[in-house]
């Protein structure tokens, strides 16, 4: 029941936009987005709750479509610091706490 992330990898030039998708076959309570740089711990980006919502800060935003059980992470005007692996973690409606992570999307931003 691991969520499916797409694409697996993205290469961008600085200033370009990207979208990363995360979908689940199970009803979700929440979707959590993290970014991990090589050799470091995952850093929390944002959480979206059931009911469908959008969130954002700076040039990174996300949406959660409850009907489709799909979340998308939007990276606008990408910066070099955005490089890393992005993971979505999902909490199912029938689980109070367990985060099940997708396999990740590797993002590389080049000058």
């Amino acid at each position: 029941q691991q969520p499916v992330q797409s694409p697996q990898a993205v290469i961008l030039r600085e200033g370009e936009d990207a979208v990363i998708n995360c979908s689940s076959s199970k009803a979700l309570y929440s979707v959590h987005w993290y970014r991990q740089k090589h050799g470091e711990a995952p850093i929390f980006l944002m959480i979206l709750l059931k009911g469908g919502e959008q969130k954002g800060h700076d040039k990174i935003s996300a949406s959660f479509n409850e009907k489709k059980q799909q979340s998308s992470l939007y990276l606008t005007a990408s910066q070099l610091s955005y490089s890393g692996t992005y993971f979505c973690g999902t909490v199912r409606m029938d689980s109070s706490y367990k985060l099940i992570f997708g396999s990740g999307t590797r993002l590389l931003v080049r000058p």
């Binding site: 691991q2 309570y29 929440s30 711990a41 959480i47 109070s96 367990k98 985060l99 992570f101």
Partner: protein
């Protein structure tokens, strides 16, 4: 400290030895989680604590793995008779509560290498 801390940061051991990994959660966080991340892969849930009880141990790979937590504080993950397939980064996270909408904050991890 302000964040989740883990020790040691790196551990190299020989096959068959036991290892203990330690996690100090953020002060005031009642929930604590252990995950495993193999090289180039995503995070795999191992166990969850609410206070010092572990309502879900379903992610532990085998009976060689066990974990304890003292109150709402330190947790120890113990791996007995380590095998090479146990090599991974073991990450600990904590959250204020154990709810479905709670943010989990991760520590830097312990990189375990079993020779």
């Amino acid at each position: 400290g302000a964040g989740v801390s883990q020790s040691p940061s790196n551990k190299v051991t020989e096959k068959g030895k036991d290892v203990e990994l330690r996690c100090d959660p953020i002060s005031g966080h009642t929930a604590l989680y252990w995950y495993r991340q193999r090289l180039g892969q995503g995070l795999e849930f191992l166990i969850y604590f609410q206070g010092n009880s572990a309502p879900d141990k379903s992610g532990l790979p085998s009976d060689r793995f066990s974990a304890e937590r003292t109150g709402e504080s330190v947790s120890t993950l113990t791996i007995q008779r380590t095998q090479q397939e146990d090599s991974a980064v073991y990450l600990c996270a904590s959250s204020f509560g154990g709810g479905q909408g709670d943010t989990q904050y991760f520590g830097p991890g312990t990189r375990l290498t079993v020779l």
